[in-house]
Symmetry: C2
Subunit: 382 residues, 2 copies
């Protein structure tokens, strides 16, 4: 028997059939009134999800294309940029900024922890940085950083605040305007439950001024082109038309649920899942609840057992979870709970973990984790 | 009554239902053995279509992303680049090369004509250029340039040959290796009959050496990353998974038809269509058959009539054709005949043109163009 697999990795995530139907529609001309009207709806809908009054441009490309476009459009060679690290995607900003000739100040953060606030302010105060980068929800470690705090410092010291919320937008609170995020980057294949292929960048007035003045050394990823095209309800280059159809549907579904409800659903699930993991006797990689991601939970492999757990969960139960990345390879596994996930997915993965651990000789009363999950799930007031 | 529209613009083109079904499949994990095996098939299939033994990388992005990646990955600031112009996309190479700091030598070509061979050689001989760019099939004018000749000059003078075959690959002869094309760029939404969203770049040994030595000022579009990932049957960033499913199917369909047959089908249709246009009494924008595109036909609007023809063809008959771009706006219309097109589409558009012209007071015997098309179609030996 082969049922449909569960995709519980931190992106790509599960896509609703309504959205897949949009995806399978025949493309239409992208320079038509018809298509512009769909684009217009998407531009408006993204503002609702990003909680911004500013434009949100749409790039046909991976999430990384939006990170790249943001750096490339505001950073000139020799500019100082502070990059808050602490995971694979924090490091990606370092690599991108370097590729564009920035003088990067790497602000180190232990993987699995968040940054020290005083030290961060000190680093900013002692720099001549033009911009600071943060990965709001570090997918590689499962840490959620205090973006509001970084936004306050950025404003205080006059830095542009560039934030990746690729794996949090639509699943956790992201207050683009309130937190002073100047370039706020997300992607389609995480909490928006779309297939991968689109990136979004919300652009503040301040960022826009820098972009307008700048003469960026890039073309396809030059945000100026996207801003200009957006004013005519179009895109500078032929977009992924089917992704746009699907995006409109995804926005409609998010509005139907309500952004606030959607976020609370993620918080409830991540909270209850964390307790269940502890109950089973596994160790959470991110100890501190207050910085734990609401969309991905990272768990240490128990002593002597590694990625074979993940493999067995996939083979025996058709549930795909993720391993560790970079230096966490073989040390942790990660459960993505982004987008269209609810109780049934999480009790399934907890059940599978329990059975596989037991089969590996791990002492466990079966159903213990599920029981705790259900109790916490019920107790949580939404 | 509203039947399905005909998309006869030069991209996006009509997508077969088999391919759309692939598009509607649920995404799978992109770091799985399953997905790598699909990617491997695509990498191999693209070599067949590009007629190359070298790697063809896949970028999630518009066709322009592949043009950008090619320039960004081999050109350093100050490098001389000769750009053969003659249309909107020829000019795009100029803009991209300038964005990356190249010293551009613009080789002007009258729109609707091809380049003067002696003058081109002279320009190359008098330059210190590192690379030369050509748009094989200039979508904005409907001109097909002699790429083989440019490839010979490029080899003779030691230049890298960067060619955009976005609107010809899969619909006209493109001999990547035989023509010495070092960076050969195409896209999904033209003759491959896929929705827009993917770009492909075939990379020669010579180009690869330059890429390896270079320290390019780009990140998402750095071809080195794609080459390295390809060796492990993967992509450097989360790809548009559904596009990859669809690409595999499109390659399968192209192999089923046979690349040679597919190209001949395009040649037959473009030849017969050109004769039909003349028969109606309209003027072809590209006079010379030997340089006329096999995938897009550009036609001058008759005196006193303009884009309202196009509008009426769309509204009355549900057939979308394209207008002119840049300086040809309002002066020409363009019929795209790329990918999955055959007799029924072309007799439909000719019929619609005849009826609309007549309704505008143009003297014409109805059916005249269709008649000529059918005669030429029948006569053409494939």
């Amino acid at each position: 028997m082969k049922s449909r697999s569960l995709l519980l990795i931190p992106g790509p995530t599960m896509v609703d059939d309504e959205v897949l139907l949009e995806f399978s529609k025949h493309p239409i001309g992208h320079r038509t009134e018809e298509f512009s009207s769909i684009l217009r709806e998407c531009f408006e809908g993204l503002k609702y999800i990003f909680r911004t009054k500013n434009p949100v441009v749409i790039i046909s490309g991976s999430g990384t294309s939006g990170m790249d476009a943001s750096i490339a459009s505001v950073i000139s060679p020799g500019d100082e940029v502070i990059c808050i690290k602490g995971g694979k995607f924090g490091e990606r900003f370092v690599e991108i900024a370097r590729a564009y000739g920035a003088k990067v100040i790497e602000f180190e953060v232990e993987w699995g922890k968040s940054f020290d606030k005083d030290k961060l302010e000190e680093a900013i105060a002692n720099s001549n940085a033009k911009a600071i980068t943060l990965v709001h929800n570090e997918t590689s470690t499962g840490v959620r950083h205090d973006a509001e705090f970084v936004g306050k410092l950025a404003r205080k010291y006059g830095l542009l605040f560039i934030m990746d919320c690729i794996s949090s937008l639509g699943g956790d609170y992201v207050e683009t305007d309130k937190w002073n995020v100047d370039l706020c980057i997300s992607g389609s294949q995480k909490c928006l439950s779309l297939p991968p292929g689109l990136s979004f960048v919300a652009i503040s007035e301040r960022a826009r001024e820098v972009i307008e003045e700048n003469n960026p050394r890039c073309y396809y990823l030059n945000l100026k082109k996207y801003l200009n095209a957006m004013e005519k309800n179009t895109t500078p280059f032929t977009p992924s038309i089917n992704h746009i159809f699907a995006l409109r549907k995804s926005i409609e579904m998010i509005k139907r649920e309500g952004l606030e409800n959607r976020i609370k659903r993620h918080i409830r699930i991540s909270h209850a899942l964390r307790r269940a993991i502890e109950e089973i006797g596994l160790e959470l990689f991110v100890k501190d609840d207050s910085i734990a991601s609401r969309t991905v939970t990272s768990v240490k492999y128990p002593n002597g057992i590694g990625d074979e757990i993940r493999k067995e969960i996939k083979e025996r139960f058709g549930i795909l979870i993720a391993g560790g990345q970079s230096k966490l390879k073989g040390k942790i596994f990660r459960i993505g709970h982004m987008g269209n996930i609810d109780l049934k997915h999480i009790v399934s993965v907890i059940s599978a973990i329990e059975l596989v651990l037991k089969s590996k000789g791990f002492e466990i009363r079966l159903g213990k984790g599920v029981e705790r999950f259900l109790e916490e799930y019920e107790r949580y007031k939404i």
